[in-house]
């Protein structure tokens, strides 16, 4: 770009002042000419009018009356009243006339021109002699200027006329002339305006031409600067102007280039920031302590639905409603006080939609002024997922509860089945138990009859027999009591002596075991002894566990029965000799706070392939009709679910071993130990 030599501000001022002075002088001159001309015209008219009044008024009236006299003569002569009335009315319209009367030759009024004709017959006051010599007489009266005139010729008088003017004709004339002068003045003013406007237009034209020539030198560089500005506005920040002079224009060009360098840097930086803010996935905001927005991204306008102008005048709290408004207000305060805060709230859009957002707020100090800068992320999906999860959890809990309930009912059913099975077993056991005392009772009774036959039935003999009988009956009665206790349901957990509980089971099964040639042993590390016979094991125990005693006994019963069946089956299958003694060992021990009850047999053990399944419900290896498959399953449920213990199986030397692990009731045990 080329900068031409400039014209200074001083020259411009001189030229502009000179032009203005010429314009003012021209307009003033035109105004003076018009003003003086209009004044002269007005003065001249007034002088003329006054002259008429003072010099020729009487003559004028005389001429007027004279004219009227002749006009009326023919009409009055012919007595054409219609046309006389018409003439009178015409005169009324053209002159400030109060009344006009036409009278006959005797001075008697014929008509005043109106339909009512109220003047008819009135005698006019006329100086008949005087009017002969002077046919028009003018006099001033209270009601106005009165003009009386004779209608006729020198030889014949047709009648008389009387006119009373309601207003001084001069005044009316002057008024009319004033109006005329006003119109002329308006005309002159209009002319003046035209002249002034024309002069101004000519001067403006000259100034325009001069201005074009002048501005070409002055505004050329400015224009180029403007062009440069446009290019910059269109985004071309690299554009620069050349500096070729050392005057004000040159200085301006240099300053412009410097400014452009700075502007480029600022613009690039600002554009980058703007792009960065607009590229943020959520909303961005920057506002001062008074809540006035200074910066925000496009997302805020798009999501909220508010225009930039609306956001400009909004407070941050206006984006929230209800409880969220208080939360946000608190968090903003917190951010301003502590430097940082976050909040989850629903952003209320212009069309009243509510979108859950996670907001951050960071205090940002510029000078001494605190600002808050932050972003908001749409957490609609997260919230939805959370809600769904909550719903799922609720459903899941219900399903679990439902399942547990089903399971519980199933277990109850199984327990019931198991109990029935156990009862069957127990009835068998009772039958075995009762067989021996029944036999004994039978022998005693038979012996009494024999004694009676042989004369040996003494009182002593009877007492002994009764005692023996009662012992057998007590045994049987105890068996029944054990059986009943065994099946009595317990509602609450309570501490019980594991050893005694096992002894009861063994005592109930002892008949069966013996019948099947199965020996049993109960060992207890606490006693450091082994119990082989039923009477021996009815001893007070000292191993106390917590739980449901009867259920525990049922579990033990199941395991012992299982061992018994395994031994019988092993004999049948030849895994052990048919006469080989079966052995079931029950060991009760304690370790720390746990009680361990191990029940082992010598039936050869559990095949490894079914080891995993032995506790499954309805799993059995027994022949059809001999096993239900719920005994071990129920035992595991009882021990693990109801008594918080463990039941597991393993193969040992000659057979299988089932271990029940329960919590030791230390308190009870201690109390007992102290005794």
């Amino acid at each position: 770009m080329h900068i031409r030599p400039g014209i200074t501000k001083k020259y411009s001022l001189v030229i502009a002042t000179a032009g203005l002075l010429i314009l003012l002088l021209t307009v003033s001159a035109a105004f003076m000419v018009v003003w003086k001309g209009a004044g002269d015209v007005k003065k001249s008219l007034e002088e003329n009018t006054t002259g008429i009044y003072t010099e020729t008024y009487n003559a004028m009236m005389g001429s007027f009356a004279e004219s009227l006299r002749y006009n009326l003569f023919n009409l009055l002569y012919q007595l054409d009243m219609v046309r006389i009335n018409r003439l009178i009315n015409d005169m009324r319209e053209g002159m400030p006339v109060k009344s006009i009367i036409v009278a006959d030759s005797s001075g008697r009024a014929l008509t005043d021109g109106t339909n009512e004709n109220v003047s008819f017959g009135r005698q006019l006051v006329i100086d008949l002699k005087g009017i002969k010599s002077s046919p028009v007489m003018i006099e001033k009266t209270e009601s106005g200027l009165r003009v009386v005139f004779l209608i006729g010729t020198n030889d014949y008088t047709a009648g008389y006329g009387e006119i009373i003017f309601s207003e001084d004709p001069l005044k009316k004339t002057l008024k009319m002339q004033d109006e005329a002068v006003s119109r002329i003045w308006e005309s002159f003013t209009a002319s003046f305006l035209k002249i002034a406007l024309a002069g101004t237009a000519i001067l403006a034209f000259i100034t325009f031409i001069f201005g074009i020539l002048f501005s070409k030198t002055l505004t050329g560089p400015i224009k180029e600067l403007t062009e440069a500005t446009k290019k910059i506005a269109s985004g071309d920040m690299s554009h620069r102007v050349k500096v070729e002079t050392a005057d004000e224009i040159g200085e301006l060009a240099s300053t412009f280039n410097t400014m452009m360098d700075e502007l480029r840097e600022t613009t690039v930086s600002r554009d980058f920031t703007d792009a960065l803010i607009d590229s943020l996935p959520g909303v961005f905001y920057f506002f001062n302590a008074q809540g006035r927005y200074l910066k925000w991204n496009k997302n805020l306008t798009i999501i909220s639905g508010y225009s930039d102008e609306e956001i400009q005048s909004m407070n941050p709290l206006q984006f929230f409603a209800g409880e969220d408004k208080h939360i946000i207000e608190k968090r903003i305060q917190e951010a301003f006080e502590n430097g940082y805060s976050t909040a989850e709230a629903e952003l209320t859009t212009k069309d009243n939609r509510k979108i859950p957002y996670f907001f951050t707020g960071l205090r940002y100090i510029v000078g001494d002024e605190p600002y808050l800068i932050g972003v908001g992320i749409d957490i609609t999906e997260r919230k939805t997922a959370e809600d769904k999860l909550l719903e799922l959890n609720r459903n899941l809990e219900a399903m679990v509860e439902d399942e547990v309930e089903k399971r519980r009912q199933q277990e109850h059913m199984l327990i019931h089945q198991s109990r029935l099975a156990a009862m069957g077993e127990m009835i068998g056991a009772i039958a075995h138990q009762w067989r021996q005392p029944l036999n004994a009772l039978g022998l005693i009774v038979q012996d009494i009859r024999d004694a009676d036959e042989y004369g040996e039935l003494t009182k002593d003999y009877i007492d002994k027999s009764v005692e023996k009988s009662m012992n057998q009956i007590k045994f049987m009665s105890k068996t029944i009591d054990d059986f009943r206790n065994f099946f009595r349901p317990e509602k609450e957990k309570s501490p019980f002596d594991a050893l005694i509980a096992i002894e009861v089971v063994l005592s109930m099964l002892s008949g069966q075991l013996k019948n099947n040639n199965i020996a049993y042993r109960l060992t207890c590390d606490a006693r450091n002894r082994t119990f082989k016979e039923f009477p021996e094991i009815i001893l007070p125990g000292d191993i106390h566990a917590t739980g449901y005693r009867n259920e525990f006994q049922q579990a033990v019963l199941n395991i012992i029965n299982n061992a018994k069946d395994a031994i019988i089956e092993a004999r049948e299958k030849g895994k052990m000799g048919s006469a080989a003694e079966g052995v079931i060992e029950v060991d009760v021990s304690r370790a720390g706070d746990r009680v361990f009850i191990s029940i082992s047999d010598n039936a050869g053990g559990i095949p490894e392939e079914i080891m995993e399944r032995i506790f499954d419900p309805y799993f059995t290896t027994k022949e059809q009709g001999k096993g239900t498959g719920i005994g071990l399953y129920m035992s595991k449920i009882i021990i693990e679910n109801n008594m918080d213990g463990r039941l597991y199986a393993e193969n040992v030397k000659d057979g299988a071993m089932f271990t029940i692990e329960l919590s030791l009731n230390e308190g009870y045990d201690d109390r007992y130990a102290s005794n």
Binding site: L79, D80, M81, V82, N115, S119, F120, G121
Partner: protein, 295 residues
């Protein structure tokens, strides 16, 4: 005279027989007027006749037409040719057309609020003249030769009473004749009497009422003629009776509605149209007598 009337009636009767079939098809309702300004009359009366025609569709009337004749003679020809159905005219002309063409005066037409008028004869208050017979050898002032109430009627009335009525300068040897002059305007008539240019004047009672009270105070009425309908509506004799009746009914009702009033007013400022009363028929009889004395 009777013979001539009989011939006329015969001609009209024959014409009626000729015209009647035309009523079988659609036709126009035609109003006859006498004027030297047809353009104005047509514009004034057309709304009235269109309104009437529109209500007569059941008689196959499809439209209306105004037929203007320049004088009574021309109108008589139109009547004879069956070119008009209704005729609006002054009482004198109506009677003339009734005599000559057999039209049927049926209704009385109010104009400018006036139902009827009569001619008043007046003299100066202090005049010795007391009655019409006192006018022998005196001068009377009329308006002009076209005037009915201020020339034809008073002149006929004077003649009916046996007086000779002559212009001022005609047959001066007849001394007892009532001499007349014209002033062109009613107002001038009054002033001619007041200013003793004439001994008497005659114009209609409405003009008398419009004369200034002060002037009337100088005058005195010596005679009034019988009343004469202001304006009349007559039917062509060939018009069917049912149609006549229907038209009469329409005419009678017109002034009772604002629209009817407006179209009547436009037609030469008609106020209303009503049926002739017995008094009107009597007046017509008087006018017929008077007609004998009209040249």
């Amino acid at each position: 005279m009777i013979m001539r009337a009989a011939i006329k009636f015969f001609l009209i009767f024959a014409l009626t027989l000729y015209v009647l079939p035309a009523f079988g098809g659609e036709r126009e309702l035609r109003l006859g007027l006498i004027s030297d300004n047809p353009d104005s009359r047509i514009r004034e009366y057309m709304p009235l006749m269109k309104n009437v025609a529109a209500r007569l569709k059941e008689f196959n009337i499809k439209d209306a037409r105004i037929v203007v004749a320049k004088d009574v003679d021309e109108m008589l020809k139109k009547i004879e040719r069956g070119e008009v159905d209704i005729i609006f005219e002054s009482a004198f002309s109506t009677i003339e057309m009734q005599e000559k063409a057999g039209i049927m005066p049926t209704m009385l037409v109010w104009r400018k609020g006036v139902r009827e008028y009569r001619t008043v004869f007046f003299v100066r208050r202090e005049s010795p003249i007391k009655s019409l017979s006192d006018l022998k050898g005196k001068t009377i002032v009329f308006e002009d030769q076209k005037s009915t109430s201020a020339y034809a009627m008073p002149k006929a009335e004077l003649k009916r009473r046996g007086l000779t009525v002559l212009p001022l300068n005609e047959k001066r040897e007849i001394k007892d004749a009532v001499r007349y002059i014209f002033t062109g305007e009613e107002l001038n008539q009054a002033f001619f009497v007041v200013q003793k240019r004439a001994d008497a004047g005659a114009f209609n009672n409405n003009d008398w009422d419009e004369t200034s009270e002060k002037v009337r105070a100088d005058l005195r009425i010596i005679h009034e003629t019988e009343p004469m309908p202001r304006y009349m509506a007559s039917f062509h004799p060939a018009l069917p009776e049912k149609l006549r009746k229907a038209i009469k009914n329409i005419f009678e009702e017109l002034h009772k509605t604002p629209e009817g009033k407006e179209i009547l007013k436009k037609a030469s400022r008609i106020t209303k149209i009503e049926r002739l009363t017995d008094a009107d028929l009597k007046a017509l009889k008087y006018l017929k007598e008077l007609m004998e004395f009209i040249e």
